[in-house]
């Protein structure tokens, strides 16, 4: 009983101050504190972090079941994000949880892989060998916490620490420059005579937080595995990409369409499995000598439907002239997007019996053949000048209810169905209705001062056509601006 209370006091001291941890000899394992059995921390590294204000309990919350491998690529001081992402793909051969630590390091959670690879030593060596194969100089280390692994790797210690209790001893030797804190903070620490973590850990915790930065204490806690540090896992950006090579060269587009069908089918299945859709596709047709023909196609809405993909690709192909026989082709999808609930509407086809396709489908088929600019909508603009009261809309709202512009509809004088692009001069016509004075736009240099009338074609012309005419107030000249069709 006495023994137990003494040991639990040790544990409390250990929690309160770093000094107790540092005084312990490095090699000897720390005595196991007799504490209530620590609940197993969840395997998922993204566990909830405790609030920063509360002092973390060292044992109950510590992420003991995590083991982090850090790889630092020292020669590449500033790695391109795309390069790091490619390295992540290599690292995913060893574990499913890989995280990027910019600018030049990767963190791998390898606790679950140790058994699979036999031992930690072997796993560590295997991962190192992977970088060696890529001819990348690397510094690596394994530790039970993310920051400890990272700092040790930066220090160049190829250590493999499995035990949390061993951490303080090993970290003590690490120079503070390896923490990659900002230069000002490191300068201050050096001026205080602190050059390694052991000296830093000897300082009183509360004073450190108050005088320097609370983040320093927090990072030390994370490094010593006293506080969990959730990390974002690297999720590879997926694309559908598949090629098919032909045994003989194909010269006719019609045969290409046949060969395309299985590719599209696999693409649709690929999308279906991921509950995702695409809005852009690219088809590359490979020739023997000429550079590949690229056929880009955009869809009006995100989709994973095989029929729609086939439809649009076919339309695009029919307008295509092959410059050389085709040897093979490759279908590449754009970025995968989450499918919205509306595009998965199972009953959409039943409500309108006999309908063959949907509005987005029609629009994208028209656009695939006629061009993006050839299909548009129109909308109202709250503006008095007739030529500025509307505009073309290329971003169409194809699903859902249309927006109603109640307030903008002018129920006064009639407006003509056709508006001429430029007003045309004419002699004074026979006026039927009017005038309607429109005077606006003096502020942007395109000011108008006009009297609008509904008129019949002027004398000398055959009768019967109703025009929308105006007289310019300054020049008193007459112009026709629209036709009532």
């Amino acid at each position: 009983m006495k023994l137990r209370s003494a040991k639990s006091r040790t544990a409390d001291l250990f929690a309160a101050d770093y000094r107790s941890a540092v005084r312990r000899p490095d090699a000897s394992p720390a005595p196991q504190p007799i504490a209530p059995l620590a609940p197993l921390a969840p395997l998922a590294p993204l566990s909830m972090a405790p609030p920063l204000t509360a002092a973390p309990h060292p044992l109950s919350r510590s992420p003991r079941r995590q083991l982090w491998y850090a790889a630092v690529f020292p020669q590449m001081t500033q790695l391109e994000p795309s390069v790091l992402q490619k390295l992540c793909l290599h690292a995913q051969a060893f574990t499913s949880f890989v995280s990027i630590e910019p600018p030049n390091a990767l963190l791998l959670e390898i606790k679950g892989s140790v058994k699979l690879f036999g031992s930690l030593q072997r796993l560590h060596a295997d991962i190192d060998a992977c970088w060696r194969q890529l001819a990348l100089p690397v510094r690596s280390a394994t530790a039970p916490s993310t920051l400890a692994a990272l700092w040790l790797a930066r220090a160049g210690d190829p250590l493999q620490i499995e035990d949390v209790e061993m951490l303080p001893g090993h970290l003590a030797k690490v120079p503070i420059a390896c923490t990659a804190w900002d230069g000002e903070l490191l300068q201050t620490l050096r001026a205080m005579g602190v050059t390694s973590l052991s000296e830093l850990m000897r300082l009183p915790r509360a004073g450190l937080a108050r005088r320097l930065n609370p983040a320093v204490v927090q990072e030390l806690d994370i490094a010593l595995a006293r506080q969990p540090a959730p990390r974002r896992a690297f999720v590879p950006r997926e694309r559908f990409r598949e090629r098919c090579d032909f045994e003989t060269e194909i010269e006719h587009v019609a045969y290409l369409e046949k060969a395309l069908d299985p590719l599209i089918e696999r693409c649709a299945q690929f999308l279906l499995k991921r509950q995702a859709g695409v809005q852009a596709l690219q088809l590359r047709l490979k020739h023997r000598e000429a550079p590949a023909t690229r056929v880009q196609l955009g869809l009006a809405s995100i989709t994973s439907e095989q029929r729609r993909l086939t439809d649009v690709l076919r339309q695009k192909l029919t307008g295509l002239e092959l410059k050389a026989p085709v040897r093979g082709m490759e279908l590449i999808s754009g970025a995968l997007r989450a499918l919205s609930a509306s595009s998965l509407d199972a009953f959409a086809g039943l409500t309108r019996a006999g309908s063959r396709d949907s509005a987005p489908q029609l629009v994208e088929r028209l656009r695939a053949r006629l061009g993006e600019e050839a299909v548009y909508g129109v909308c109202l603009i709250a503006e008095h000048r007739p030529e500025a009261a509307w505009r073309r809309v290329h971003e169409l709202r194809l699903t859902g209810a249309p927006q109603v512009a109640e307030g903008m509809i002018d129920q006064g004088m009639p407006r003509p169905v056709w508006l001429l692009n430029e007003p045309l001069p004419l002699t004074k016509p026979q006026l039927l209705q009017g005038p309607e004075r429109i005077e606006s736009g003096w502020w942007d240099g395109k000011g108008v001062a006009r009297d609008y009338y509904v008129a019949r074609t002027p004398a000398g012309h055959p009768q019967g056509i109703r025009l929308w005419v105006f007289q310019e107030r300054q020049s008193k000249r007459w112009y026709v601006h629209g036709v009532f069709a």
Partner: protein, 223 residues
Amino acid sequence: MSCVAVKTWMLREPSSLADILADARVWKLKDASAAPARPVWSTGLSSLDARLPGGGWPTASLIEVLLDETGLGEVQLFLPALVACQRSTQDSREAPWLVWIAPPHEPYAPALAQQGIELGRLLVVRPSTATEALWAAEQALSSGVCAAVLLWLKGTDDRWLRRLKLAAEAGGSLGVLFRPARHRFESSPANLRLSLSRGSPCARVDLLKVQGGRPGPVDLGGP
């Protein structure tokens, strides 16, 4: 054995007028007052409605309008029908689309909104050739999402018109084709043909072909 033969022969013998009318090979001439099988949209002009079978523009059909110049009120003839068919559905999300292909000028949005057209459901298509315009019209008519497709053309052949008519019937939409008046004497598969010409005080409407009705000039005396 002979008995069976007699029975078969008896069945083949038309026995009554109803049997004859039920035969698909018999072509029936309906009068204008007979209720049509398909719904119609009013033209907004009572004198024109009276002359059309069912009292309005027939849906799921191709209408050909022959005219030489714009400004004769040719679009106005169809605007009430376009508004009516856009408002026919209860759910505004289901509101059908209108497609205008190759209009001679820019459709003026404030005018259409004034007339009650749902601008969010209007699509303007500007193809570069006549063949593309016809192709676009066929796609829009047969898609089933468009209530009406208006197409302006300089000229086309009989084969394309037949395709448009079939597409309109398949998609259940109203196809309106505006063509120059010189095509007046060519044969056309359109369900309804009318020519528009200048007149005083308003344009003259001449029905050239009316399926189930009487052709002839229409007096648009009163609205």
